[in-house]
Amino acid sequence: MLAFRNLLRRRIRTLLTVTGVAIGVSIVVALSAIARGFRTQVNDLFSSGRAHLILSRKDAADPILSYLPESLLGELRARDEIAAVEPVVLGATQVPPLAVFIFFGTTRDSPFLEQIRVVEGEGLFATPGTDRVCLGARAARNLGREVGDTLPLGGRELTVVGLFESATPLIDAGALLSLGDAQELAGLEQKITSALVQLRDSNRDALVRAEQELEADYPEIEATPPSEWAAAFDEFDLAEQTATVFTILAICIGGISVMNTMLMSVFERTREIGILQAIGWSRWMVVRQVLAEALLVATVGTPLGIALGVGIVELIGSFQQFSWVAGHYDTTVFLQGIAVGFGMGVVGSIYPAWRAVGITPIEALRYE
């Protein structure tokens, strides 16, 4: 009650502090949701298809930097446990106005094609030929292209033969090319970036065994189930670690802002705090007051910040450049937001509470 009244007494200051908490929370929520969203999308890239394992280069930092020799495919197909192998070339290039444009080089029988649904024109392999491209719906929108238009890509003029949709924004905002075209565009002659492996026997044991055997026979290869593919690349960990660093930073910076408010609040109530102690309030009760005030700020600021963070992600995703951005909101994201909000409250009230406890009633009574 007292905490509530104190906050109302200094409305502007309270508003600023709540805003500070909300901004801190929103940044962390947005960063974390985007980082997780990216990881989820990468895990989704090949998950809904028939692929059981994805092979990539062991030490690759990024899926597009994972170079494997195309000759590997033949060797793999010869193995008993493997039913089929399809190559993938993942690449990124610039297509004005987009700074990053992702393309997927694929084969006609690739399980990857199960990730897309042609909605206009025809499929990439419906008619034989080169220099054909299918655009995701977002890509078509961002680039202003329709079926029949041309698209300059890496010095070549490709013809848009079809539009597709995909549930994964990363695919939906990209393009589909034949493997050969993609290799040329990416400068990867005789190379691929990953291979999608279908096993004859796909039970859990067989999967683990195949994973181990492949990695043993090809030390440069990392084999991962599609739904864990992102784990093969450190950069996704890095993105989430960055979010964690920001979480800590936000708690510190926001904590200082809360602390500033609480300190002012404690100082201007020196006499009041002294009087409360004089009429029997214990130090712990005084500490609780300060904590309650900070936690009240956190309680209001945190949900606002979470809402703001979701809004930021949506806003970013609405820009052409970032149409592949999709926030992934799991409990961890919200817990992170809550931790930041309340972390700020707690960090910000420790020192003020200590100062409040240091006020002795005698001194406070002499203080005018």
Binding site: M1, L2, N6, L8, R271, L276, W281, I362
Partner: protein, 223 residues
């Protein structure tokens, strides 16, 4: 110690600034239940310091203080003593400005194990007793100085203390208002059998007490 002794002080000394200021310099005092004692003396003579020691706000450097059966020199939790046994009325500005009259009066009860309903009941009862039944939900800023001191008196009594201490409670009020506040305090003392110690510089007021203690330079000059 006989039953009706509320407070006993012996050889009380208190110095400030590492001994240079002798605020209290050997005080002996016994207060009996229901007694009304006034303390007078020039400014700086140690009146407030004495009241603070009586009220478990401060510990002496030397001497003993017994309140009820309790030794206040060694008591670990003076805040508990204050919460249970002491009622304070200070000069002006001792209410919490953001709280209403009734909320201010409830404050001491948060330190005790009193239910919410009981808190409200006692606070309202006392505000009625001090004649503020019409002002229960006013904030201090919406009340006159005299009304605020009545709230402070109600707050001092709400924990049913053994000892009520008032440090120049009318110091910031005009004479007329001050007199009304003191009359109220006296009336409550009679009705409720309070043990009351009142610091004042108003001799007329002081003389209405059962006993007047005159302090000079931290010593009792006469009583």
């Amino acid at each position: 110690m006989s039953d009706d002794v509320v407070l006993r002080i012996e050889g009380l000394r208190k110095t400030y600034e590492t001994g240079r200021v002798r605020a209290l310099d050997g005080i002996d005092l016994v207060l009996r239940r229901g007694e009304f004692v006034s303390i007078v003396g020039p400014s700086g003579s140690g009146k407030s310091t004495l009241l603070h020691v009586l009220g478990a706000l401060d510990r002496p450097d030397e001497g003993s203080v017994w309140l009820g059966g309790q030794d206040l020199v060694t008591a670990e939790r003076l805040d508990r003593v204050r919460a249970r046994s002491i009622g304070f009325v200070f000069q002006l500005h001792n209410l919490v400005p953001t709280l209403t009259a009734v909320e201010n009066v409830e404050l001491p009860l948060y330190a005790l194990d009193v239910s919410r309903a009981e808190r409200r009941r006692r606070a309202e009862e006392l505000l009625v007793a001090v004649g503020l039944s019409e002002r229960l939900h006013h904030r201090p800023s919406q009340m006159s100085g005299g009304q605020r001191q009545r709230v402070a008196i109600a707050r001092a009594l709400v924990n049913q203390p053994e000892l009520v201490l008032a440090d120049e409670p009318t110091g910031d009020l005009d004479q007329e208002t001050g007199r009304h506040v003191l009359e109220l305090l006296e009336r409550l003392r009679e009705e409720r059998g309070l043990t009351l110690v009142l610091v004042t510089h108003d001799m007329a007021v002081a003389e209405r007490a059962d006993r007047t203690i005159r302090l000079i330079d931290g010593r009792i000059a006469s009583s």
